[in-house]
């Protein structure tokens, strides 16, 4: 178990390092920040001063090393716009994003898992077909379309919810539901197939043959096994919630990390973009690490196997 945990943590750290590197490479390749921030008409001395100031005149490799060294010290650079620490600029937006993503996550877990289980238990019935039709619709519609349609219905037509902004708690409902519906659709589908797979296993027949009633067979024997593959997709969902917030926050003018990213990209505010990319990568890695560790708790076969396996 100890080796298992250790190997998962090591793997997570390596992934984070790769993400940090990737963030650097991609941002340096996509254009010169001096030109964009100072504008095309600035005098050449101004460009030079700006580049010297931000270390952009150094060879790329040196820039990379000093960037990496700074990150290890916890220094993620300053916003090129207003000179404040980029980490602070991002972190003050994080709670706002969590205000959307945490309810969205709860929504998609509760609805998605319940729907998936019901669909599997009523396989090929109208319940199953209805749930799966809704699910396919949910995850094939892009989030901006879903968001706009919901806004159109509840804000424009019914006028029961605000279409954008962040003044009251009602403002969180539409963006959360948009993200939650899409996530629920995906989780329902995965839960259903995981359940169907498990319900076909011989140990389910054993549990019935033992004299357990069907409800207990499902709760005590099917669900713990179906949870194992479902966890994988849940980890993925948690990781992608922050990334998904980029689109949804823009639609609903929600001042979270997602909208900050859109602004920072447009402004070529490298340090801020870097911090957000690393943050998104870090959530994904963390979510997957938690999932890996949870596997170990749920599945005794993993707990006892060697990490090399």
């Amino acid at each position: 178990m100890f080796l298992y945990v250790l190997s998962r943590i090591a793997r997570a750290l390596i992934t984070v390092a790769l993400i940090i590197t990737l963030a650097f490479v991609i941002l340096r390749m996509t254009g010169d920040p001096a030109t964009i921030i100072l504008g095309p008409d600035a005098p050449p001395e101004a460009y030079e001063a700006f580049r010297r100031n931000w270390g952009l005149d150094q060879p790329l490799f040196i820039q990379y090393l000093s960037y990496f060294a700074a990150i290890l010290k916890g220094d993620l650079g300053q916003s090129m716009r207003d000179g404040r620490a980029a980490l602070d600029v991002v972190m003050e937006r994080v709670p706002l994003t969590l205000l959307l993503t945490v309810p969205a996550l709860l929504f998609n877990l509760v609805i998605g898992i319940t729907a998936g289980i019901f669909a599997a238990l009523n396989r090929n019935s109208w319940i199953d077909r209805a749930i799966m039709t809704a699910s396919v619709t949910g995850f094939t519609v892009p989030s901006f379309v879903m968001g706009l349609v919901l806004a159109l219905i509840f804000a424009v037509k019914l006028k029961v919810l605000p279409s954008g902004g962040s003044e009251t708690w009602q403002h969180t409902i539409l963006p959360s539901v948009t993200m939650g519906l899409i996530g629920a659709a995906i989780i329902a589908r995965f839960t259903r197939s995981a359940m169907l797979e498990v319900l076909g296993q011989p140990y389910i027949r054993t549990a019935s043959a033992k004299g357990l009633n069907w409800t207990d067979v499902v709760i005590q024997h099917a669900l713990p096994n179906a949870a194992i593959p479902t966890l994988t997709i849940i980890g993925f969902m948690i990781g992608s919630l922050v990334a998904g917030a980029v689109v949804v926050e823009s639609i609903f003018s929600w001042p979270g990390v997602g909208r900050l990213l859109v602004g920072a990209v447009a402004n070529r505010d490298l340090a801020v973009v870097q911090v957000i990319l690393i943050l998104i990568g870090f959530t994904m890695v963390l979510a997957n690490l938690i999932v890996d560790l949870a596997y170990g708790v749920i599945d005794p076969r993993l707990r006892h196997s060697t990490p090399a396996k």
Partner: protein, 364 residues
Amino acid sequence: MTHSGKQTIFKPKQQDFLIDVRGLTVDFDIGNHYVRALHGVDLSIRRGETLGVVGESGCGKSITWLAVLGLLGGGAKVSGSARFDGQELVGLTPRQLTAFRGGRIALIFQDPASALNPVHRIGRQIAEALRLHRGLTGKAAKEEARRLLDRVGISNAAQRLNEYPHELSGGMNQRVMIAMALAGEPDLLIADEPTTALDATIQAQILDLLRDLQAETHMAMALISHDLGVIADMADRVSVMYAGRVIEEASAEALFERPAHPYTRGLIGALPDIDGPRHRLEAIPGAVPAPSALPPGCAFSDRCSHVETICHKGPPILGLVGGEDDHSAACVRLDAIEDQELNLASQPSKLVHQRAGLQEGVEA
């Protein structure tokens, strides 16, 4: 031959059968229509008796018992009758059936590793059966589970209770399954290919264990197998199934010495001889027809070397084999083929030799 030449319809004597299955049919819903998998199966087992159920894969030998206990799921339509100790089981609600499942009627399955839940400890899985059928919980259940593991020959029982199925070998897991089956103190144990997934020495040990337990508890047993050696070794009576029907039924001795149905003759003839001269193995030509594509009349007619036009008239019913009152077969040409030499004289001893070889292997 002394008998009249007319088929006598086989009627079971009204003895105290523990379980008496009559005319059991199963139809599977495959979307737009039903496919019949069992075409009226008749089987019965007396108290303390072992009935061997033999047949190729897909002949319905497992489905029969799953149907009796309502374990086939919603896609299967079961009709006919299965009286267990006077109580009709066909038509009971799932909730009523749970009282029989794992209690008075226990099952063990072919692949013990996948028949046990991988995420629960052995102890918990046995304790579950103890709670359901004997109302034991907590410490009492744990102690009884330990005793059962001990009884089925698992050393270190107390420690094994806390282990998971993947930590045990196949043979050990089958012992756990047997312990779990014993938890309900069953009157009838249905053993569905209990040794097929195990290697030969373990096979012999598990069969010995089953035999011992049966002697001790006087439970009846339905031993489902396609291994004639296992059947010859264990069964008092044998039912041979083919394509969803019982086609021959007799005492084990009579069946192996005087198989009547061409299919049974073929099965026994196909056994390799362990110490006779080497010769090419006899095989039954062709394959079992799919349930959706049965020939009219006798389902075996396509593969039978004794086939005549009469065989296609309708499915034959079980009739007494001439001169015997506890041996029946479903073949309209019994009289005609009975006299044909099949040179089976050495067969029963051949089987006994094979088993003996296995047992010696265990002790060696």
